[in-house]
């Protein structure tokens, strides 16, 4: 179980304008700003939950994950993971958690991943039999066999990420902090990693806290999401409920078999897209049955689909920005 109560993490950041004069001036006088990366965040995550952690760049997501995994000392507030205070980094806690950072590698760069695995086995004191079993399982699930004996530096990003996941899970952690685990991977690899994480969660009743640049990761994996913006928690709950609250409309897509004029579409709802023959309109839930009936009977619509608005659009509206939510910048 993960608990954070009034968690804050502030950083003192040196700011300097560009240019030679500013560089010289910074030698004698430095201007520092206090950045509230995490500002009074409270939440509880039960064992076995899969939770998506969303927010725009610099919202405080990665900082929170780093505090939860013990890398950062919180400025104030309380945090515990399975009853342990993370920043004290007790052995018992480190043996239960893992942090996968898409942009940081724990694999030894010039050696094959198998050497990192052997080192982790020794450091985490994993019994040989369990290690062999887990490695075999991970090798099959992630298709690692052709990769583990190649030097890490010669692996592609996707291959490295798969090896990275294996290294992070060899000690069978029960809490997974995944920070952008699919960054830079192709779609097929993203799907493979998602499937793997879901499978691991179900098999080991593991808790998963995930941040991702790709909303598809979050939609596919996380029934619950926590949204954080400017260090503050602004939503904690069911993903569908968030979408419903922020945008209580449905998207109806269909391909009409007859010609449909724009003014006729306007009666159905707001036209969102007309891509060749394919039409997508936005309608309220109250109007939905009538619209569906009309599409089927009057317009002879084929391939009818009713969907929630994309999470990207909901979050874009929520943050009032055009950019997609993404991993925050350092620190």
């Amino acid at each position: 179980m993960i608990r954070a109560r009034d968690l804050t993490k502030h950083f003192r950041v040196h700011r300097r304008p560009p240019g030679f004069a500013a560089a010289v001036k910074s030698l004698v006088h430095r201007h520092y700003e206090l950045v509230k990366a995490v500002d009074g965040v409270t939440f509880t995550i039960e064992r076995g939950e899969r939770v998506g952690f969303l927010g725009p760049n610099g919202a405080g997501k990665t900082t929170t994950l780093k505090v939860l995994s013990g890398l950062l000392h919180p400025t104030s507030g309380e945090v515990d993971v399975d009853g342990f205070v993370p920043f004290r980094r007790p052995r018992e806690l480190l043996a239960r958690i893992t942090l996968v950072m898409g942009q940081k590698s724990q694999l030894i760069w010039d050696l094959p991943p198998s050497e990192t695995y052997a080192m982790n086995r020794a450091i985490f004191d994993v019994p040989r039999e369990q290690f062999d079993r887990t490695l075999k399982e991970l090798t099959e699930l992630l298709d690692l066999a052709p990769l583990v004996d190649k030097p890490t530096r010669q692996l592609s990003l996707g291959e490295r990420m798969k090896c990275e996941l294996a290294a992070a899970l060899l000690h069978r952690p029960t809490t997974l902090f995944l920070d952008e685990p699919t960054i830079g991977l192709d779609v097929a690899m993203q799907v493979a990693i998602r499937d793997f994480v879901r499978d691991y969660n179900q098999r080991h009743d593991a808790t998963v806290l995930l941040t991702s640049h790709y909303m598809d990761d979050v939609v596919a994996l996380c029934p619950r999401i926590i949204v954080i913006d400017q260090g503050k928690l602004i939503h904690d709950g069911d993903l569908r409920q968030l979408i419903k609250t922020m945008d209580p409309h449905k998207r109806v897509s269909f391909t009409p078999t007859t010609q449909v004029a724009d003014d006729e579409l306007a009666k159905l709802g707001t036209l969102i897209a007309r891509d060749g023959q394919r039409i997508t309109v936005r309608v309220t839930e109250r109007e939905l049955p009538g619209v569906v009936g009309h599409v089927l009977s009057a317009l002879h619509g084929a391939d009818l689909a009713i969907e929630d608005p994309p999470l990207e659009d909901v979050l874009r509206a929520m943050f009032g920005k055009s950019a997609k939510p993404a991993a925050e910048a350092a620190p």
Partner: protein, 265 residues
């Protein structure tokens, strides 16, 4: 601690594999530590017509070859590693492992010792076959004391460099501090020339600083006739400095890691 000791053989094995992977860089780094050979040439020239402050030409040969052997076996680069790991945020991955980074770094550096021995061993043979052999001790007690003295010198050097590297938690770039350390090391450790031929004030100050115990003490135990009580005192002083620097290294680390910002990602 028991778990850490259990992990040690694997850590050493991986450390050896890493050393082999970086073999070209490692070899070049070893070659940069050959300054004693230059000093050897210089001082044997100075002493060719008679002893200089009690050091004959053969004494200088023995001193600087022993100096090179000790330096080869005790040098490490952990300060630069720590600085890079802290500055770039790669320390994060080390902190997630249930082993104190002091042990993890120490194991990877200890793993390099066999390869350094490959360089040190021929030097030792040259020393024994050269004119300097007459200046190397043949007292079994001194030869036996050389081993713990070398181990303490390694550990003391490692602790000093670990403390210097850990300062990167506070000031990010510690290169200049390491440069200052090596400047003082050249003078007070006996690396540049034997402390016995230094001005008396410097030799006295050196007694109260840690540098001498990282190099001059094992070199002197190997090349200078010493009484049993002198050897005992030198080893005790070395052990005391090692204990002090171990406390300092772990203390700087503990205070520093609280400030770690885990940048990147």
């Amino acid at each position: 601690m028991i778990r850490t000791l259990k992990a040690l053989p694997t850590l050493l094995r991986v450390g050896v594999a890493e050393t082999v992977a970086y073999r070209a860089e490692f070899l070049v780094w070893i070659l940069t530590m050959t300054q004693p050979l230059i000093m050897l040439g210089l001082w044997t020239f100075v002493a060719r017509e008679g002893p200089f402050r009690g050091y004959s030409s053969d004494d200088f040969v023995a001193y600087f070859l022993a100096n090179l052997i000790v330096r080869q076996l005790t040098g490490n680069w952990v300060a630069w590693q720590l600085m890079e790991d802290i500055r770039l945020g790669t320390m994060s991955m080390r902190l997630l492992r249930p082993i104190h980074p002091f042990f993890a770094y120490a194991a990877s550096h200890a793993a390099a010792i066999p390869f350094r021995t490959v360089v040190a061993l021929p030097l030792a043979i040259i020393l024994l076959a050269s004119s300097g052999a007459s200046s190397v001790t043949n007292d079994p007690a001194q030869l036996a004391a050389f081993v713990p003295s070398l181990v303490l010198a390694w550990l003391l050097t490692f602790c000093v460099m670990f403390a210097l590297g850990s300062l990167a938690f506070f000031i990010t770039q510690t290169n200049s501090l390491v440069d200052v350390y090596f400047g003082l090391f050249q003078i007070f450790s006996g690396y540049m020339l034997p402390l016995a031929i230094m001005p008396a004030a410097i030799a006295t100050i050196a007694t109260w600083l840690p540098f001498k115990y990282t190099l001059a003490v094992p070199v002197e135990i190997l090349t200078k006739p010493l009484a049993a009580d002198q050897i005992g005192m030198l080893l005790a002083q070395q052990a005391a400095w090692t204990a002090i620097m171990l406390v300092v290294a772990v203390g700087v680390w503990r205070l520093g890691v609280r400030r770690f910002e885990a940048v990147g990602g």
